[in-house]
Symmetry: C4
Subunit: 272 residues, 4 copies
């Protein structure tokens, strides 16, 4: 193996493994860099803080951009199929994390303030890089995927309800009470059925309030539906998991053998 190939392999180990010391340190360093750089982006948007620490944040920004550029280069370098990585979800996110900073060089004037603000805010998508490190979500994701069709059907029902009630409220309350158009009525209906309730638009007439009360009670009752779907799905998954485990190791009705056990601790039967 040529040395360059060996170096590449070593690098790949650091980047993709997650139980050796160097790869753990690499991960922790990256996570810290992502979190801090996102906090910097957020604080930099507060005008009071920007006035004082703006220059410091500018330096920090370039520091993080260089780090993420090096990371992007490394991932591209070790990838077995570079095009595939570059086009993958994380490949695009990794690129988007660094591009805005470089772009800001080409629009230095204040005349493009909006464009610069746009690119600055875009950097917040770096947060999505964090998702790579979360190995936890399988269970939650599976439960949501398994019930996604039912939840989509539920959302379809919600959309039909808010469309009709939003249009009805536009008819009942009209412009003089803040319902200027049907989309505004639908927006109000969504604010109400989800029990958010800003109160920026709210019905004033008696029939309007009666309809609103009905919508609130609908919203309050049907929240049971997605919750019931996901609960039932997760209960099924838990049961399935127990059943699978007990089929695998069905000597003594012990379901949770110790992780490192090679034999059942009650009867001595070898485990898989």
């Amino acid at each position: 193996m040529p040395p360059s190939e060996r170096f590449k392999q070593k690098l790949a180990h650091i980047i993709f493994d997650y139980n050796t010391v160097p790869s753990k340190m690499f991960d922790l360093f990256l996570i810290a860099a992502i979190v801090i750089s996102v906090i910097v982006v957020m604080l930099d948007s507060v005008s009071g803080i920007h006035a004082v620490y703006g220059d410091f944040f500018y330096v920090l920004e370039w520091f993080f951009t260089v780090i993420f550029t090096v990371e992007y280069g490394m991932r591209l370098y070790v990838a077995t199929n570079r095009m595939r990585y570059a086009r993958s979800f994380f490949g695009i996110i990794d690129l988007l994390s660094i591009l805005p900073t470089y772009f800001s060089i080409f629009f230095p004037g204040t005349q493009y303030l909006l464009v610069i603000r746009f690119f600055r805010v875009l950097r917040i998508f770096r947060l999505l890089k964090l998702v790579k490190f979360v190995k936890e979500g399988e269970y939650v994701r599976n439960a949501i995927l398994a019930s996604s069709r039912k939840i989509l059907f539920f959302l379809f029902f919600v959309m039909v309800t808010v469309s009709i009630i939003g249009a009805l409220m536009y008819l009942i309350e009209g412009e003089e009470h803040g319902f200027h158009s049907i989309p505004e009525g639908v927006y109000w209906a969504i604010v109400t059925i989800t029990t958010v309730g800003y109160g920026d638009i709210s019905p004033q007439t008696i029939p309007g309030r009666a309809l609103a009360a009905m919508l609130m009670i609908i919203g309050y009752s049907i929240i049971a539906v997605p919750t019931g779907i996901v609960s039932a799905e997760m209960a099924s998954m838990n049961e399935q998991l127990h059943a699978d485990l007990s089929k695998l190791n069905s000597c003594c009705k012990i379901i949770d053998h110790d992780g490192d056990a090679r034999h059942c601790k009650e009867c001595g039967k070898p485990l898989d």
Copy 2:
């Protein structure tokens, strides 16, 4: 069979089937027409958009009305019992979807515009007709139907609570703090117990706020009740489903045979 009869049957297949190519295309085309026409109605109610695109929307509206009229005619033509279709829920909705536009020729004034717009939005109900084949809807509907009596009892309890607390708040806060009548107090109580919380009416006195805090905590706790009912019902349904499946195909404790399997893939037993 006379040719007119054969044509009628062919038409009926396109309209009512849902797994042949022409009927699928018919459904997709209708769904698109409904969704777009509803969006057009909604956008047309925004005065800024109406000013610019009003004429274009007017043409579109007539285009969709003609389509829906043809569809209504077709359904009426192929129906085995025309009166029954015309009087059914979907028959009435189908008619209401097209009437307002024709109506607007004879009553061109703007005073009916709001009402006509509302009836046009009712078209969205027609989507429900097209999703009746979705088995996810079945599952959700069954769970809600099975628990509807319990949920009605729960809503009865909520109504009693909001009536009494609404009346009490009218007594405590009075007109000077925005509680002008008992119905207004009840409206406030519904806004509060469902955790919507607009804030357009809110208690100012100390006893009023104490009562409000109590009501909020009641609302926050008892949302567990409908959710628990539906969750438990769905868990029962899932279990029943598994039990049914395992009784049907009870050779190898495999519950989820592949959809196209004719024999159990473990023991070769033929499946239904």
Copy 3:
């Protein structure tokens, strides 16, 4: 049996039974009277409606009062232990439903009007008496009772949380941002943790908003706790019910025999 005794018994049957025609009619008539009289009280409190229909409502009020007085007399007459009925929860509610109207003769001033109206609304409690036979109510009540200790513990946790966070917000935001005292801070914390969110008091400073965001996320997450408790309890109850039924009628694994079945419809085994 003397005729008066026989009359009394017949009356008692009408009042307390719930599956004969006269008793059903008696119940339905009473439910209608209660619901309409409560609606009349509510509408009468709306000044605009009172101005027009006040006299009509006054007559209606006396009409219902006479009905409820006759009913109260009847219940007192047929009661085996009159003192016990008069002192029971429903006995007191029945009396409170009619007293305010008589009271209003002796104190004709409007200064007691609000209080009298409130007591009139209490009539709605009388509906509870008539639904005590609803088995759905039993199910919901049992599930809540079985989990009441766990829910009380949950509410204790909520109370401690809102007390401490309310006090901290009073310290952080202070009087200048609407947090005039610790109880007001606690009120705000309850409004927030229950996700009601009126917005009449809301944090303005950065640390205050950070604490508020934390409280919201706590409230949003821990709503899972009472819901989980009740869901799990109801799932257990459903399972227990199925197990009981299948033990009782354990011939053919049919759990839901028809209500009027005397024999299992599959194997002919007699049922209890």
Copy 4:
């Protein structure tokens, strides 16, 4: 045993036992003292009440402080390892409950008003002393602990969502509609996704409202996730509990033997 040792042991019994008469009275007295002293702290912060009862509250405060000091001394005295108690969670809470009052002697002038207010509010943490007396929470705590990793993952997902949508709203709505910075946008997104909805900041533009509607529906749907997790966990725990009980006493499929039963009441098998 020397008398001092015997006294110490007797004291320890009173403090730590919870089923003898003196220890129960000790507990009840302490609980009352904690609750009343916290109420005093709260009421004292209401300026109207402070003006009238301030002196009375001052005396009460010293009364409770002396009680809690004696309690702290007693616990320190009987502790087998004093340092460990002093450093334990409850040791620190017990100390913090009395310190602020003593501190207030050293800062008597009005120039330290803020410091005094700070210490006064700190006394609210006395509430945590109550946690000692709650023996209920095991079940709830176990269910939350068992699902804490899944809930943390859920919160991570929520944090990423609100960060990105908050930043987008800052971009869309901008300063002129109350979104002055990204952190403010994130605060708004938390207020919205948790369905609190104060309404102090709310979107005004059409794209802003569309994004807000999307966020509300996300929040309304994903509340199913933590609830589903905890529900499924609790259902598992209930099942496990039943299974454990039935394994212990597996004669007649009776799960709930009477608490005082020594033999199974159906078959007479001795129970543990």
